[in-house]
């Protein structure tokens, strides 16, 4: 039995045992057992994923476990990437959950479901048949829904977010079910092997329909625009360790599905599929980061940033498909490797950021950036964690996203040689979307970190913040260390990514390493190399040298402690926290620049005095940036459905006679139709 199978089996067993244990043990022990069990499930999953990445694949049919179709599991390096990432996220989130839930409290159901959720996340990429995939997918949706609803008693918004999530995840499931069932019906078998074997014989139109349905289903899980509406609602309302699991592990499975179905089962396909994927990915990236830049809710901001990063990954996946259909396998490999590396990188920094945001929420009780500030002195470890995560998310060296976005842009740039006109138009636009995203990500995370953690506290809650307990810090520490490793020595992960790319349909790794081992990433066959470690070392050396030189300056009067000085207040007396720039005011220039895209809403209410309408008693100004796609696309549909429902209400007034009448007329109508058509 291979290590990967053993690890997955162990993960499932531990998850079931933990769930059963949590259901019976007393209240006090619940957070510890649930969190520790989740971390163990994650460890087993990480081991299984690592073994799969090392080349240990297995197939395990379990025909009797589910009636009619049976379950079957198989693991290859491609699933290994997603299993390992999920496992690693679960380790950090599980340890963090011990401290987080023992202070904020958790229901028995939520504590029991957490390990099951992780197990279902591990099972989805291991599924080897349509029935297994759909069963695990639905298990994942239901467990995550329960977890999102954990705090519904404390806050009414949670229930609304849960409703959005439940509806959209099931609409996604309907799309998946439709697409994969059509595929299965024409392929004559529901195992992935049978589907892949039958795919070349199917008509292009059918394959296109299957792909579009699968893209809609999987894309909605990945938060792809315009199917993202649930994501910025559900992710912030869930407890923070669950947000981390959802945002760093669950959304990835949407990407996994698109890669598996598009490349593995359908075997590539037409150019227009991948142009569609690139277009949707670029739209998601730009729209997501734009909304994140406007957002003042810390966790909502992170949720939109997830949409952005999934968009970037989709650009990579789409570019891989485009290059593959244009017969440039080496570029296709590079683009897919960039996408998969970004999956791992995004998981690392998003876990860190959500855990740090949870720590802030835990300490201050608010997620509103406009009422935070000054947390750096009270919560140094959390500040460090969020700062490191923000750096990683904003594609600046020495952050993790820098490496994967570098690879992605390299693939896009080199694709212009010998490109068709469609490709030549798409690639520059994709590069500019990636570039705009990178620039706005810097603005977003400077805003989030600067206004949330630096400067003066804006409210009493923020001023009274205290550092989080040790388990929460340990969870953040693990995620932070993973980010550092991914950022500085990405070469350690790239061979494994190369095997995963090969498993998705192309042979051989394209990314090679310089003579100095893991330090330099060099692209084989393409001129391009970068070394994040050397860059970081260079920066650190110059910084230390400059600091030492400053210290050695002979003319400095006061060595050691600096003299404290007043801030420049224009002579107007001491500055208060109300004079600071807030997150809203920080984003205002960007909001004005992108006015036409985000369409902010402002309301100005002026109340006049009763005596004279020329004298103003009060002025109330409200500004908000609604999700425009939600406003324009979802609201009309929702109101149309509601109108249809109320219009149909007169049909059902509650009279039994009338219902019997409906039955009678329907049967008569059917009989008449049958008689006429026979």
């Amino acid at each position: 039995m291979s290590t990967s199978a053993l690890g997955l089996g162990l993960a499932g067993t531990i998850a079931l045992l933990t769930t059963l244990a949590v259901l019976v043990i007393p209240f006090r022990l619940r957070p510890t057992i649930s969190g520790a069990g989740t971390a163990l499930v994650g460890t087993a999953g990480l081991a299984a994923g690592a073994a799969a990445l090392a080349g240990q694949s297995f197939t395990l049919p379990l025909p009797s476990l589910l009636p009619l179709s049976g379950l079957s599991f198989a693991v290859d390096p491609l699933s290994g990437v997603f299993i390992a990432v999920t496992g690693a996220v679960a380790v950090a989130a599980g340890i963090y959950a011990i401290g987080y839930t023992s202070h904020s409290g958790t229901s028995r159901a939520a504590a029991a479901v957490l390990p099951l959720f992780v197990a279902s996340l591990l099972a989805v990429p291991a599924a080897a048949s349509v029935a297994t995939l759909l069963a695990c997918w639905e298990l994942m949706a239901l467990t995550s829904l329960l977890l999102v609803l954990t705090e519904h008693k404390q806050r009414p918004e949670v229930a609304e977010a849960g409703l959005w999530y439940a509806v959209m995840t099931h609409l996604g499931l309907v799309c998946l079910l439709g697409g994969l069932m059509i595929f299965t019906a024409h392929a004559g078998g529901d195992s992935f092997a049978a589907l892949a074997a039958a795919a070349p014989e199917l008509s292009p139109a059918l394959k296109g329909a299957v792909f579009v349905l699968a893209l809609a289903g999987f894309g909605s899980k990945a938060g792809m625009v315009p199917l993202h509406a649930w994501l910025p609602r559900a992710h912030p309302e869930a407890p923070s360790h669950v947000s981390a699991l959802m945002s760093a592990a669950m959304v990835n499975l949407g990407i996994y599905g698109i890669i598996r179905v598009g490349f593995g089962l359908l075997g590539g396909g037409s150019t227009w599929w991948w142009l569609l994927v690139i277009g949707l990915g670029a739209a998601s990236a730009v729209y997501g980061i734009l909304q994140a830049a406007m957002s003042t809710d810390l966790k909502r901001l992170l949720g939109y940033s997830t949409t952005e990063n999934m968009g970037l990954i989709l650009v990579g996946v789409g570019a891989a498909g485009l290059f593959a259909s244009a017969h440039h396998p080496e570029l296709a490999e590079l683009a897919l490797a960039a996408a998969l590396l970004h999956v791992a990188n995004h998981a690392g920094f998003k876990t860190l950021l959500f855990l740090a945001a949870g720590s802030v929420l835990h300490a201050t009780g608010t997620r509103d950036l406009d009422s935070l500030g000054g947390l750096r002195s009270a919560m140094p470890a959390t500040t460090l964690a969020f700062g490191w995560g923000g750096l990683a998310a904003s594609a600046l060296p020495p952050g993790t996203a820098f490496v994967s976005e570098w690879l992605l842009v390299q693939a896009l740039i080199h694709g212009l040689h010998g490109a068709t006109t469609a490709t030549a138009v798409t690639l520059p636009l994709a590069v500019s979307a990636v570039a705009l995203t990178a620039g706005l990500a810097v603005a977003t995370f400077v805003k989030a970190f600067g206004t949330g953690f630096l400067a003066k506290p804006r409210t009493a809650d923020a001023a009274a913040a205290r550092e989080s307990p040790a388990t929460m810090l340990a969870g953040m520490g693990l995620a932070g260390a993973a980010c550092a490793a991914l950022a500085l020595v990405p070469g350690a992960l790239l061979p494994a990514i190369g095997r995963a790319v090969a498993a998705a349909g192309w042979p051989g790794p394209v990314i090679r390493y310089g003579t100095n081992g893991l330090v330099t990433i060099r692209l084989a066959g393409l001129a391009g190399e970068v070394s994040p470690l050397l860059l970081t070392l260079g920066l650190v050396i110059v910084m230390v040298a400059t600091a030492a030189w400053l210290r050695a300056l002979p003319a400095r009067r006061a060595q050691g402690a600096r003299r404290r000085a007043r801030l420049w207040d224009c002579g107007g007396g001491p500055l208060t926290a109300r004079m600071e720039y807030t997150a809203t005011s920080f984003a205002e220039p960007l909001q004005r620049v992108f006015d036409d895209v985000v369409a902010p809403e402002t309301r100005l209410d002026v109340t006049h005095l009763d005596e004279a309408r020329y004298l103003v008693a009060a002025i109330e100004y409200r500004a908000q940036v609604p999700d425009r796609i939600e406003r324009r696309l979802y609201q009309p549909i929702l109101s149309a459905v509601a109108a249809w429902g109320s219009a149909a209400r007169w049909l059902a007034p509650g009279s039994v006679h009338r219902y019997l009448g409906y039955g009678f007329y329907t049967v008569t109508a059917v009989l008449i139709i049958l008689t006429v058509t026979r």
Partner: protein, 318 residues
């Protein structure tokens, strides 16, 4: 990594650190002469720096370590860029760091750190400057990357040494439409990134118009000196980048003393000429409103896209 590159890296670090304040001095002097003033002389920025470095370091109330580390980070990003980009020699000191994206990201990193330090002061000025600076940064990034795209297509690489070598092999390439469009786009980017007129006015201290100056309002003494030094070095690096990308002639291709001397002199001449042109152009321009800046940057972005399009379609035709 070879002898040529390493010698070049050392020379560049020394020349740019020592010469950047002089470049600022030259630009101010050109402006002064054109405006009919006498001007303080080319050495004035160095005299200012010497005075600042001798002062006592202060810590404004309520600021944290971020505020104190930011000047160091700004200097570090600029010095690393100055070392690795092939300015004086055609080889880079550290080849895997001379990627155009890495260089651009490094420079953006310095800006972002300074913006964080500005927010850290908790004053309205700091927040205002930081907010404006990152807005401009976010809008400059697409132009920058798409111009890089256009320049790297003919060279087949985003490595600066490769681009410079490709231009030296085929000098006519500089006059291709792609290269000229990219040059205009990158010039606008340079103006925006280094805070020059018409995007930002380095000489202003008026609340409504400050961008860079608002961010560094709380700095004094050695910290301020570091930031001033790094800012003039950034200007030097950007002008040098334009020179290396679009006019790499005179650059040293072998590590002989003569070639290195010629390379250094050519680099200095090109940067000073670029700076003088920039300063002279500033005399005839006014700073534009902050909310007109996006229009300028959108224009430069369109030029960059046109550069990519022409590099594809014209290269495809030949």
């Amino acid at each position: 990594m070879n002898a040529l590159g390493i010698t070049g890296g050392v020379i560049q670090a020394v020349v740019i650190t020592g010469g950047a304040p002089l470049l600022t001095g030259v630009m101010r002097q050109v402006r002064a002469k054109l405006e009919g003033r006498k001007g303080p002389g080319v050495g004035q920025p160095w005299r200012d720096l010497r005075k600042q470095f001798r002062k006592e370091a202060v810590a404004p109330e309520g600021t944290s370590e971020i505020f104190r580390v930011a000047p160091l980070a700004l200097v570090a990003t600029t010095v690393v860029t100055a070392v690795v980009v092939p300015f004086v020699t055609s080889a880079s000191a550290v080849e895997p760091m001379a990627d155009l994206f890495a260089v651009v990201a490094l420079l953006a990193m310095g800006t972002a750190t300074l913006a964080l330090a500005a927010i850290d002061t908790g004053t309205a000025f700091g927040g205002m400057g930081a907010s404006r600076e990152v807005t401009i940064l976010a809008l400059v990034e697409p132009t920058l990357l798409v111009s890089i795209f256009a320049l790297s297509v003919p060279a087949g690489s985003t490595n600066l040494a490769a681009i410079v070598a490709a231009t030296l092999n085929d000098p006519g390439r500089v006059l291709s439409p792609a290269s000229m469009l990219a040059a205009i786009a990158l010039t606008v980017v340079t103006v925006a990134e280094t805070g020059r007129i018409p995007v930002d006015n380095p000489a202003t201290h008026l609340e409504l118009t400050m961008v860079h100056e608002a961010m560094i309002l709380e700095y004094a003494g050695p910290d301020l000196a570091l930031i001033e030094l790094a800012s003039s070095m950034r200007l030097c690096v950007f002008l040098g980048l334009l020179a290396s990308l679009f006019a790499p002639w005179g650059i040293a291709a072998s590590p002989t003393p003569l070639a290195l001397a010629i390379g250094t002199a050519a680099f200095a001449a090109k940067v000073v000429a670029g700076g003088a042109v920039l300063a002279a152009a500033e005399v005839f321009m006014a700073k534009i409103r902050l909310f007109r800046v996006p229009e300028l940057l959108a224009g430069s972005f369109l030029l960059a896209v046109a550069a990519v399009a022409s590099s594809y379609f014209l290269a495809g035709a030949s």
